[in-house]
């Protein structure tokens, strides 16, 4: 088992407009990206569970050319509205850090 934080080079979140949050996971090594993709661990259902939204509300796209996975889902509160906690959406990545990927690398 490997933790995502130990095998990905970038794990980040940001607004995609005021109503959506977009989360990216990038790899520098094409072989590791391909292996992670092959495990199928990263998918819309995982993001739905981690962010407590319906799977239908998650737009999940593997982007081979960038060795990246992207998931876009609704924000909890529109950016800057009453009760918002993260106007830029830049600190919503943490639930992904400890996702376990069934790979034995190195």
């Amino acid at each position: 088992m490997a933790l995502l934080r130990d095998i990905a080079q970038i794990i980040k979140s940001k607004n995609a407009g005021p109503f959506m949050l977009t989360i990216d996971v990038l790899f520098e090594d094409a072989s590791i990206y391909r292996q992670v993709k092959a495990t199928g661990v990263l998918n819309a259902a995982l993001f739905a569970r981690l962010y407590n939204v319906a799977e239908a509300d998650v737009l999940f796209t593997p982007y081979d050319t960038a060795l990246a996975f992207k998931a876009t889902l609704p924000r909890l509160v529109p950016a800057g509205d009453f009760g918002d906690t993260d106007v830029y959406g830049a600190q919503q990545h943490a639930p992904l850090l400890d996702v376990e990927v069934p790979l034995n690398l190195r």
Binding site: F19, L59, K70, G80, F82, T85, D86, V87, Q91, Q92
Partner: protein, 456 residues
């Protein structure tokens, strides 16, 4: 006029006012760019700045960046383009930026032709477009209606490259655009020079945030050179590099989809893009495609007033309180409701939100971590009401109550919270919320964006 073989553009920073190294600009200018520019804004800092008509960068930092850019552009005899001027690209934002440009020109004895491109919408025209069925909601928002348009404090349209290219055709050297699609200020001069649409739009995507596609990633300058159907990204500052990872990372920035980018007038498809290292600090990007849209659409952004807020910040170091914080906050809310009602402010006229720092202040209901209690907890208390006076009054009661309320096993009988500041209560002023997030199909790309020229 035949198209040049290559076309180089220099972006100074992620946002005008974020700053950049002066040496980067100098080094970048030795590469003879055809244009320099900077994006002036974003919706990212939230709805307040569009509503209040204010910039989210300081006048001092914007003036510093603008001065260096104007001097460089005039010395080289090339255009300088600012997108989304003043942060949100509304009329006050545009006028404040124009006033800064005139001030700098006076101080530095610079002279040039300037164009302002306005982006606030004509509400009567937009209401007519709603009636004609030419507006569409984005991000699952309700359909646009006349009431929403009327209630909005300010609505801007996001211009495409066409009005910017027209301002260049009409002889402007300095262009201040109101709200504009981030890549448009770059796609405009590139396509006008005869470059292909796909790499021109993609170049705009790379340039919109300055040196963000580089490592180390900090606000600074970026050079992009378009050649035929591909482009090259390179930071002028020798301490930075573009790598396939740094460029790929930025290609995902703030988009819902990594492969389909909807722009005014078409779709940039990046499914088959290739990122290749040319040297250890230059990346070649190729394989992008541009499909013109059947209908030209303009994105709209608008905000409405949702009340007034006051906040306070405090923290507790008391383990007895920390162990029962949920119950304490629930009791606290009930007490504030009763006390506010006693001075004539019923509970249904205000709202209170408490963020508990050290527990779930970042992710709110989405926080999954349920670890041991920390030794201290911080609180940001927010009160929203119809007037500032009521927000202040309820917040003051919430602050007092948080400091002095009793709880089971209480030892700290002089007060439950550490308040770092006097005054403890902060007026946040108006709360605006995004109310318009739609598209509209105009008659042509120019009708919503009047161009005004002046000699500076």
């Amino acid at each position: 006029m035949s198209a040049p073989l290559s076309y180089t553009m220099l972006s100074t920073s992620g946002i005008l006012g974020y700053g950049f190294a002066e040496e980067s600009l100098r080094a970048g200018m030795t590469r003879n760019p055809s244009i320099i520019g900077c994006d002036g804004g974003s919706t990212d800092p939230g709805p307040y700045y569009l509503g209040a008509g204010k910039a989210f960068c300081s006048r001092l930092s914007i003036k510093r960046d603008l001065r260096l850019m104007l001097q460089a552009a005039v010395a080289a005899g090339i255009p300088c383009i600012i997108g989304t001027s003043g942060g949100a690209g509304g009329e006050p934002h545009l006028q404040d930026t124009a006033a800064l440009v005139r001030e700098i020109a006076r101080e530095e004895k610079l002279s040039f032709r300037m164009a302002l491109i306005h982006a606030e919408v004509d509400r009567a025209l937009l209401t007519r477009r709603v009636g004609e069925g030419r507006t569409r909601a984005l991000a699952k928002q309700p359909a646009l209606d006349a009431g929403t348009i009327e209630r909005a404090t300010r609505i801007v349209g996001m211009m495409g490259p066409e009005p910017i290219a027209r301002a260049l055709d009409q002889g402007a050297q300095v262009i201040l655009a109101g709200r504009s699609s981030d890549p448009a200020q770059w796609a405009a001069p590139a396509m006008r020079a005869g470059m292909q649409p796909a790499p021109s739009w993609y170049a705009g995507k790379m340039l919109e945030c300055g040196a963000e596609p580089t490592t180390p990633k900090e606000p600074d300058c970026l050079l992009v050179t378009i050649e035929g159907d591909h482009l090259y990204c390179e930071p002028p500052n020798p301490i930075r590099r573009c790598t396939p990872l740094s460029v790929a990372n930025f290609s995902l920035h703030e988009n819902s989809s990594p492969i389909h980018h909807v722009e005014p007038g078409g779709l940039l498809d990046t499914s088959d893009v290739l990122f290749e290292a040319v040297t250890d600090r230059v990346v070649r990007v190729s394989g992008m495609r541009w499909t013109p849209a059947e209908t030209y659409t303009v994105k709209l952004e608008g905000v409405e007033l949702a009340g007034y807020r006051a906040i306070t910040i405090c923290a507790t170091r008391d383990p007895v309180l920390i162990a029962q914080v949920d119950a304490y906050l629930a009791t606290h809310k009930a007490k504030v409701q009763a006390k506010a009602a006693a001075f004539g402010v019923p509970a249904e006229t205000w709202r209170m939100a408490v963020r508990t720092i050290g527990r779930d202040a970042v992710m709110g209901e989405r926080e999954l971590f349920r670890g041991p209690a920390p030794h201290e907890l911080g609180f940001v208390v927010e009160v929203l009401a119809e007037t500032q006076d009521v927000a202040n009054a309820v917040l003051a009661m919430a602050r007092t109550s948080l400091l002095h309320a009793d709880f089971e096993g209480r030892l700290c009988k002089e007060g439950n919270m550490a308040f770092p500041f006097s005054p403890s209560d902060i007026e946040l002023g108006a709360l605006y919320r995004f109310s318009v997030f739609h598209t509209v199909a105009p008659d042509d790309p120019y009708e919503m964006f009047p161009i005004e020229h002046e000699k500076v």
